[in-house]
Amino acid sequence: MKRAVLNKRLSLAASLATILTFIVVRTIIPEYSQMVYFIVFYIALGLAFDIFLGFTNYVCFGYVVFLALGGYAMAHSFKWFTGDPTLSVALGLLLSTIYASIVALIVGLIGLRLREVYFAIATIGLTQGIRFFIEGFRVWGGSEGLIVAGDIISKYGSEWLTLLSVDYADALTFITAIASIAVTYYLIVSKTGYALLAIREDEEVAMSFGVNPVKYKLLVFMISAILGAFIGASKLLKDQAVFPAEAFSLAFTLEALVITLVGGKGTLLGPLIAGILYAGLKYFLTTIMPGLQLLVFALIVIGVVVLFPEGIVGWLKKRFRGTLLDELLI
């Protein structure tokens, strides 16, 4: 029994070490910071998305909403608050948490009592729903969005612009990735993880076991939402602006799906490995055939779902079931 726990901790250590490696590389070789950000961004996205998808088998097609909310939250902080810039970032994160939690709570309380199918339908419209609220009722900058570059320069000076969009954005992404790793690990080994396993298999059975399904589904939904908002917040720091047309793009949900499904849903190493692979693939496609990316990724999702649904880690575990590798890979 003890050895099983140790094996799982190895994967946790490996995941954290990977992120640490990226941090070290970036610090030593600043020219790589852009690429490292790119990779860790997708690792974080995959992990954060998988916290909900992988552990409940529910798909939130409107996941990008949380990224957008995080972006807006951070923008609000820089627009409405003048003080220490680091405090602004902290405030932005607080607002991200609040915005994401409110939306997740409303959608979750309505949708998570329903079956996966109805929840998916509700969330398909979610993205457009919130986007059209912003554009339709002309709040939060409406269709033109919010640009904070100007605010930052006038309040803090242009050195801060660089500092925020490079160092702070990257740091936030690293922190989110690490937090996502920690949460995913916790869900795999803890009592909560057990409950979610039961809920996934058969909700009625889970209830006979004494598990309250809505409570657990809502919990992971909110955590996933908040982490997604943090990713969006880091993106705002990077881009210095948020526009509805781009922020609410369904492409992010598709990307998150690719990473989670290809890596292996419900695992720790899956989104990690797939995040790295995905970043590489996307970079490659951007150079040789931009404009066709979404086409390729959509095809990958369909292909994975039909041919390879368990993903990389899932496949490896199945192939080596019962062996040491099976225990190590989580």
Binding site: L53, N57, Y58, V59, F61, I110, G111, L114, R115, E116, V117, Y118, A120, I121, A122, I124, G125, L126, Q128, G129, R131, F132, F133, I134, E135, G136, F137, R138, G142, S143, R200, L250, A251, T253, L254, L257, L261, K265, G291, L292, L294, L295, F297, A298, L299, V301, I302, V305, V306, P309
Partner: protein, 294 residues
């Protein structure tokens, strides 16, 4: 409001409502039999609209003729989709088929963009107009509603008056029971997806009889939203509800912008779509199984 204005609003509401009924019907029909959520619905309608456009612009064929081509293409597509994708996903958790449909929608959308470009297309097909009271209605709309009504009626006739249709209904209501009664469920899965897709693409073609401009790769989204609204309100998997729900939405659709135009400082199109989303959430909150659902 003038009496005849209300009447003409109602009539145009019914006319578009019949199309919406068809839209919701094709979605709910596929879901009812296969438990497959076709989130590519609107994008397939987009394809239907493009078919109408290209056949008109290249060969001068009116949408009424393109309808047949669109239906056949939809039929073939549905069959292929079943054989290659949906069949493999049937025993798995819902998330796989949901993801596949989602990805399919994006794929179709992006493919359309690559093949036909992002710009807005349109064509002018004039069949003259018909006068109802003091108002002039384009004949194309009248034809659109007649054909929509016809197709909806055909589906209902099939489901309720034919032996094969009865089998389909039993599959919708009780899949395990119907297998035990000897129904070749796989044959019907194939049939349902093929027919559902045929109706799906056809409704996009019919759409051009109402609105023949603004055809672009990204037009599908709003119709997916609409299809779900009608299907969920009528009852997902309950074809009987689609007609009622479609008509309801047809009638209120005109009303939403009218009500909203009183509100200051808003952009009408996005605000309308937001209201549509809220209605969907509301239905899911209050009565998720819809009007006619079990």
């Amino acid at each position: 409001m003038e009496y005849s204005y209300v009447l003409i609003s109602a009539i145009s509401g019914v006319m578009i409502g019949l199309l919406y009924a068809l839209v919701g019907l094709s979605l709910t029909f596929i879901f009812g039999v296969l438990q497959f959520v076709n989130s590519a619905h609107g994008h397939l309608m987009m394809v239907g609209a493009y078919i109408a456009f290209w056949l008109f612009v290249l060969y001068g064929w009116p949408p009424l003729v393109s309808l047949i081509i669109a239906s056949l293409l939809g039929l073939a597509f549905g069959a292929a989709l079943y054989a290659l994708v949906v069949r493999k996903l049937m025993g798995l958790p819902a998330l796989y088929s949901l993801s596949a449909a989602f990805a399919l929608g994006i794929f179709i959308q992006e493919l359309a963009k690559v093949l036909w470009g992002p710009s807005y297309r349109g064509f002018l097909y004039d069949m003259g107009s018909i006068k109802i009271f003091d108002y002039v209605v384009p004949a194309t709309r009248v034809w659109g509603s007649i054909i929509s009504a016809l197709l909806v009626f055909l589906v209902y006739y099939y489901l309720y008056k034919t032996k094969s249709g009865r089998a389909v209904r039993s599959i919708i209501q009780n899949p395990e029971g119907s297998v035990l009664s000897g129904v070749d469920i796989y044959k019907f899965y194939l049939l349902a997806l093929a027919v559902g897709m045929a109706l799906n693409v056809a409704s996009g073609c019919l759409l051009t009889l109402y609105v023949s401009s603004g055809i672009n790769p990204y037009m599908g989204g709003i119709y997916t939203d609409l299809a779900f609204m009608v299907a969920v309100t009528g009852g997902l998997g309950a074809p009987e509800g689609a007609l009622m729900a479609g008509l309801i939405y047809g009638l209120i659709e005109n009303m939403i912008p009218t009500v909203l135009s009183g509100v200051q400082n808003i952009s009408l199109y996005p605000a309308t779509r937001f209201v549509m989303f809220v209605i969907l959430l509301f239905v899911l909150l209050v009565r998720p199984r819809g009007i006619m659902g079990r």
